[in-house]
C-alpha cells in the first residue's frame, strides 16, 4: 500500500488551492487525484472572463485562472494522477483508486481533502413532463461541447433556469450563431449574479421570464418545442398563460448538487441545506482527518471564494498532519436565523481560532435595505447594513474571537432585520 500525508480528491480550483497551501505549510507528501484528463476542473470550460477579481485583482478567463494555480502546483512539484477515479474512502482513510496504468490501488493517507465539486440537476430531478427527445442538455454539458469540443447542440435555444451557467450559456450560444429566445425562471428572481444578467442577457436582448416554467416538452426524436407557462406564488402553472417556443435545444440550469457519494459512503454527516458535509472551523468533516472544500462543501458563486476557502482547508489539513489541530475544547454552533438559508462552517472549535471567525452564508430571498445581525445566544454582537441581498450571491461575515468568548454554551445566530422606517 502507498502512503501519503494528504490525498486530495479532485484537481479543480478547490483541490489545487488546497494542495498548494498544504505544501506551503510544510507537508511534503501530497497526492492529487483527478478523474478528468487534465487539471483545472470545470474552469477549463469557462472560457468567459470575470474570474479572479478578488484573488488577483484582475479579470481572467477560467482557463487563465486555473493556469495560475496549475503552474504553481507544478512548481511546487506536487504529485498527481489524471484519468483516475476514487472508488471508495473508508474511515481509516484508505482510498481506493482506479486507472488504466496502475489498475486498482489502495492508498493510505493521514488526511483526505474532498474537492469533487458538484453536478448539475437534471430534467428528471425536476420532473418536467413531456417526451424524451434529443436536444435537452444540462447547461454545463452544453458548455463543454461548445467550448472544449467544438460542437453546437443546436441553433434555436430556450434555457430553463437563470443560474450563472444558464446566463453565461445564453450569451455563448448567441456568440456561436444560435438564437436564444428566452431564459425561463421559476422563481420571481434570478439565481445568478447581477453582472451576468446584465452582460449575458440584457446586452443581447434575451428576455428573462421570471415566475415562468416549462410545462411540456414536444418532439419524439428531436426536440421541436417547449410549452412555457407563468406560475403563481405557489409556483404552480397558471392555466391560460401557456406559450409555445419553437426550439431544437433546451439547456437546463436548474441548480447544482455537491457530489458527495464518497462522503456518504464513509459516513460523513451532511447538511440538509447545503447537501455538503457539516464542517468545523478547519473545514474538517464529522470523520476526523477528512476535510472538504469548494463546491462539494457548498455551491459557491465565485471561484475566488472557493480559492479562499480551499487555502484555509489545505492549511488545516497540514495542521492535522502535524498534529497541531486541537480536538475538543469549547465548541460554538452556528445557526441560520430568519432570512438565512445556510451558514458554513456549522461548528467552531474556539481553540483553533487565532483572531477571527469567518462565516459564509446565503440568504433565502431577495432583500433590500436590511441588516445582517449576528447574535451570541441572545446578545447582539454585530450588525451589518446591506442595501441588497440575493440568494445568488454568497455573503461572508467575520467575527472577532474576543466577542464570542464565555463559559456558557454558545450558539451563534445570523439573521436578517428589516431597516426601521422602510
Amino acid at each position: 500500500m502507498n502512503n501519503y500525508d494528504i490525498v486530495v480528491v479532485g484537481g479543480g480550483p478547490a483541490g489545487l488551492a488546497a494542495a498548494i497551501e498544504a505544501k506551503k505549510n510544510g507537508v511534503e507528501s501530497i497526492l492529487v487525484v483527478e478523474r478528468d484528463r487534465e487539471l483545472g476542473g470545470i474552469l477549463n470550460q469557462c472560457i468567459h472572463n470575470g474570474f479572479g477579481l478578488h484573488i488577483f485583482k484582475e479579470e481572467l478567463t477560467g482557463p487563465e485562472y486555473a493556469e495560475r494555480f496549475i503552474n504553481e502546483f507544478h512548481k511546487l512539484g506536487i504529485e498527481y494522477k489524471l484519468d483516475t477515479m476514487v472508488l471508495n474512502i473508508d474511515e481509516n482513510k484508505t482510498i481506493k483508486l482506479i486507472n488504466s496504468e496502475d489498475g486498482l490501488v489502495d492508498i493510505k493517507a493521514k488526511a483526505i481533502i474532498l474537492a469533487m465539486g458538484c453536478r448539475e440537476r437534471t430534467r428528471g430531478a425536476i420532473n418536467i413532463p413531456g417526451t424524451r427527445p434529443s436536444g435537452i442538455f444540462s447547461a454545463g454539458t452544453a458548455q463543454r461541447f461548445v467550448n472544449m469540443e467544438g460542437y453546437m447542440p443546436g441553433k434555436k435555444v430556450v434555457i430553463l433556469g437563470s443560474g450563472d451557467i444558464g446566463l453565461i450559456m445564453a450569451r455563448t450560444m448567441v456568440w456561436e450563431g444560435a438564437r436564444v429566445s428566452a431564459v425561463v425562471e421559476l422563481m420571481p428572481y434570478s439565481g445568478g449574479l447581477t453582472r451576468n444578467i446584465v452582460q449575458c442577457l440584457d446586452d443581447f436582448d434575451i428576455p428573462l421570464l421570471l415566475s415562468h416554467t416549462i410545462i411540456d416538452i414536444i418532439g419524439n426524436e428531436k426536440l421541436e418545442s417547449v410549452v412555457v407557462s407563468e406560475v403563481d406564488v405557489n409556483r404552480r402553472p397558471i392555466k391560460g398563460t401557456e406559450k409555445i417556443f419553437e426550439c431544437d435545444t433546451l439547456l437546463l440550469s436548474v441548480g447544482l448538487v455537491p457530489e458527495n457519494e464518497l462522503a456518504i459512503n464513509v459516513g460523513i454527516n451532511l447538511d440538509n441545506k447545503t447537501k455538503g458535509a457539516i464542517v468545523n472551523e478547519s473545514m474538517e468533516t464529522s470523520v476526523p482527518g477528512i476535510f472538504a472544500c469548494g463546491n462539494v462543501l457548498h455551491v459557491h458563486d465565485l471561484v475566488d471564494w472557493v480559492t479562499e476557502e480551499s487555502r484555509k482547508t489545505g492549511k488545516s489539513a497540514a495542521r492535522h498532519v502535524n498534529k497541531q489541530l486541537i480536538e475538543g475544547g469549547k465548541i460554538i454552533e452556528t445557526k441560520a436565523g430568519d432570512g438565512i438559508n445556510y451558514i458554513v462552517p456549522q461548528k467552531i472549535r474556539l481553540d483553533n481560532i487565532d483572531e477571527t471567525i469567518d462565516l459564509y452564508l446565503r440568504v433565502d430571498n431577495i432583500y433590500e435595505n436590511v441588516k445582517l445581525v449576528v447574535r451570541k445566544d441572545n446578545e447582539i454582537i454585530k450588525k451589518i447594513k446591506k442595501s441588497h441581498l440575493a440568494p445568488g450571491e454568497m455573503e461572508s461575515v467575520s467575527i472577532k474571537k474576543e466577542n464570542v468568548l464565555g463559559d456558557e454554551p454558545i450558539i451563534l445566530t445570523i439573521e436578517l432585520e428589516e431597516e426601521m422606517g422602510k
Partner: protein
C-alpha cells in the same frame, strides 16, 4: 428466401428468433427502429409475474406460469440480471382481503406454486417501510424482477450468433401473399419468407391487415413510471402491488435489478402510438397512489420519468395463432402484461405452431445457448478487476462516474453482435447515463467512444432513434447560419 421472417424485435420477437435459432431454419428478424427493444420492451414494470392475475384457462394464464418457470435458466445462459424477490399484493381492509383470497384461489388453479396469505404482522416484518394501514397480503415468492431490455438485447445477440439475420431500420410497409411465400416490403427493399410471424407490438393490427381482411385492433395504453436513486433502492425488498380493483391492477412499487427503486404504471388509452410522453396528471396520480403504500416516500430522490405503451386487444387475451385466411402467417398480438413473463412460453407455442405446419424441425448441432461472457466490472472481485485491467487497459478507465462503468464495458457492448450504435443503445446495454447525473458528465465521453469505434463523426451520433441527432458542427467563417437559409 427465408424460412421465417419475424416482424418486430421487442421481447417477443427476439425470444422467438432465439428459439428458432436452435433449428435448421433460415430466419430474419425485421425491426423498424435502429435498435432492438426500442418499444414496449424498454418501458415496462420489469416484473416476472407469478401468475395469479390472468383468468383461469386463458393463454395468458398458461404462458405466464410456464414462462415464469423458464427464467432462471434463460437468464443464467444469457447472463441477464434476474432476481426472484417475490411479490406482495397488499390488502388494507376486509373487502380487499376477500379479493386476495380470490387471487390465491385463481393462482392455485393457474398452477402458481408456494403462494401464501400473510397476516399484518408477517407483512410488517418483511416490509417495514410500508404503511401501517395494511391488514394482510398475498405473498408469491416465485415473482421476480429482470432487466427487460437487457434480456431482449441478449436474446437478439444470441440469435444472431446462432445464424439469425437481424435487419434494423426496416419498417414493413406492405406484405404480398404469393404461392407458398410472402414478399415483405420495407421502404427500401423487400425480403421473402415462407412463414411470417407478426410480433409488431402496438402495430400488430397494421401488419395483420396487410394480408388479412379480418383481424383485431390494437389499442395503445400508456403507463408512466418514475425511477428513483439507488440511495432509496431498498425501500422495499419485494414487488409491492396495490390490491386490484375494477379500475385495474393499480400502482406498484419495486426495487430494480440494478438497485434503483421504481413506481408506476398509470393506465391511459392514447391515440399516438409513437408517443413517449409523460404528463403532469400521470405524475400526480402516481404520487397519490404511492402515498397509499408507503408511510414516507422519498419523492426528492427521483432520477427520471418515462412512459411505455401496452398493446391491448378487446378480448384481453394474447392472440397466438396461424390466421385462417393466410396460412403460414402467425399473429403474436395483444401481448400486454404479463407478456414479458410469458415470452419464453410464447416462443415455445409459436415453435409448436411451426412444427405442426412444417413437420419435425432439425436441431442445429452448432447452437450455443450462451453468449460471449458479459463483464460487469464493478461486480467482479478485486483480483478479477486487476487482471482485466492488466489485459485491457480500457477497463481501468471509469467513464460513468455515477454507476462506475468502465470504457472497456462500453467498447464491448458496441462490438457485440446486435451491438449499440447510439447513446441510448449504450445506456441500455452497459448503463452509463442511467445514474443520478443522467449522462451530464459521461455523455460527451460515450459519444466520443461511439464515434471512434463506429468510425463516424461526433455529429452523426444519435441519442436514440432515427433523427435524434445530438450535436451539429460548429459555425465556421464560411458557414453562417442565418434566418434566410433555415
Amino acid at each position: 428466401m427465408f424460412d421465417v421472417a419475424i416482424i418486430g424485435a421487442g421481447i417477443v420477437g427476439t425470444m422467438i428468433s432465439r428459439e428458432l435459432s436452435k433449428y435448421k431454419l433460415d430466419v430474419i428478424l425485421l425491426e423498424k427502429d435502429n435498435d432492438v427493444a426500442n418499444g414496449t420492451t424498454k418501458a415496462n414494470s420489469a416484473i416476472i409475474h407469478a401468475g395469479y392475475d390472468a383468468s383461469v384457462g386463458t393463454i395468458k394464464a398458461k404462458t405466464n406460469v410456464e414462462g415464469n418457470a423458464m427464467f432462471d435458466k434463460l437468464c443464467e445462459d444469457l447472463s441477464v440480471p434476474f432476481k426472484r424477490i417475490g411479490s406482495l399484493v397488499i390488502a388494507k381492509c376486509e373487502e380487499e382481503k376477500k379479493i386476495l383470497q380470490e387471487l390465491y384461489k385463481r393462482g392455485k388453479q393457474n398452477g402458481v406454486a408456494e403462494m401464501k396469505l400473510l397476516t399484518k404482522e408477517e407483512v410488517r416484518q418483511m416490509e417495514p417501510n410500508l404503511t401501517e394501514k395494511i391488514e394482510g397480503a398475498l405473498y408469491a415468492p416465485t415473482a421476480g424482477i429482470v432487466g427487460p431490455w437487457e434480456l431482449a438485447i441478449a436474446l437478439a445477440e444470441n440469435a444472431v450468433e446462432n445464424g439469425v439475420e437481424l435487419k434494423l431500420n426496416s419498417k414493413v410497409t406492405n406484405i404480398v401473399k404469393h404461392d407458398g411465400f410472402y414478399r415483405i416490403f420495407s421502404d427500401k427493399d423487400y425480403v421473402e419468407a415462407k412463414y411470417v410471424i407478426n410480433c409488431a407490438g402496438v402495430y400488430a393490427d397494421k401488419i395483420n391487415n396487410m394480408v388479412n381482411s379480418e383481424g383485431f385492433e390494437i389499442m395503445a395504453n400508456s403507463g408512466e413510471y418514475q425511477l428513483y436513486d439507488k440511495n432509496v433502492g431498498k425501500l422495499s425488498n419485494s414487488i409491492i402491488f396495490q390490491c386490484p380493483s375494477p379500475k385495474g391492477k393499480g400502482v406498484l412499487a419495486l426495487p430494480t435489478v440494478h438497485g434503483n427503486f421504481m413506481i408506476g404504471p398509470t393506465s391511459e388509452y392514447v391515440s399516438d402510438k409513437e408517443s413517449k410522453k409523460t404528463t403532469r396528471e400521470g405524475m400526480d396520480l402516481l404520487y397519490e397512489n404511492i402515498k397509499e403504500l408507503f408511510s414516507e416516500f422519498p419523492y426528492d430522490q427521483i432520477i427520471t420519468s418515462f412512459m411505455g405503451l401496452r398493446a391491448k386487444v378487446e378480448s384481453q387475451d394474447f392472440i397466438i395463432e396461424e390466421t385462417n385466411e393466410s396460412s403460414r402467417f402467425i399473429n403474436v398480438a395483444g401481448i400486454d402484461s404479463p407478456g414479458l413473463t410469458a415470452a419464453p412460453a410464447i416462443a415455445k407455442l409459436v415453435l409448436k405452431i411451426l412444427k405442426n405446419s412444417i413437420g419435425e424441425l432439425k436441431l442445429k448441432e452448432s447452437f450455443a445457448s450462451t453468449r460471449r461472457e458479459v463483464k460487469h466490472f464493478m461486480e467482479l472481485s478485486e483480483k478479477e478487476q486487476s487482471e482485466l485491467i492488466e489485459k485491457d487497459k480500457s477497463y481501468g478507465k471509469i467513464i460513468c462516474r455515477c454507476e462506475n462503468i468502465t470504457e472497456g464495458e462500453i467498447i464491448d457492448v458496441i462490438k457485440r453482435k446486435a451491438g449499440a450504435t447510439t447513446v441510448d443503445g449504450v445506456k441500455r446495454r452497459a448503463r452509463p447515463g442511467s445514474g443520478r447525473c443522467q449522462g451530464g458528465f459521461c455523455s460527451p465521453r460515450v459519444m466520443e467512444i461511439l464515434a471512434r469505434e463506429l468510425n463516424v463523426e461526433m455529429d452523426e451520433i444519435l441519442k436514440g432513434n432515427k433523427g435524434s441527432y445530438i450535436l451539429m458542427r460548429r459555425k465556421t467563417e464560411n458557414d453562417h447560419w442565418s434566418e434566410d437559409n433555415e
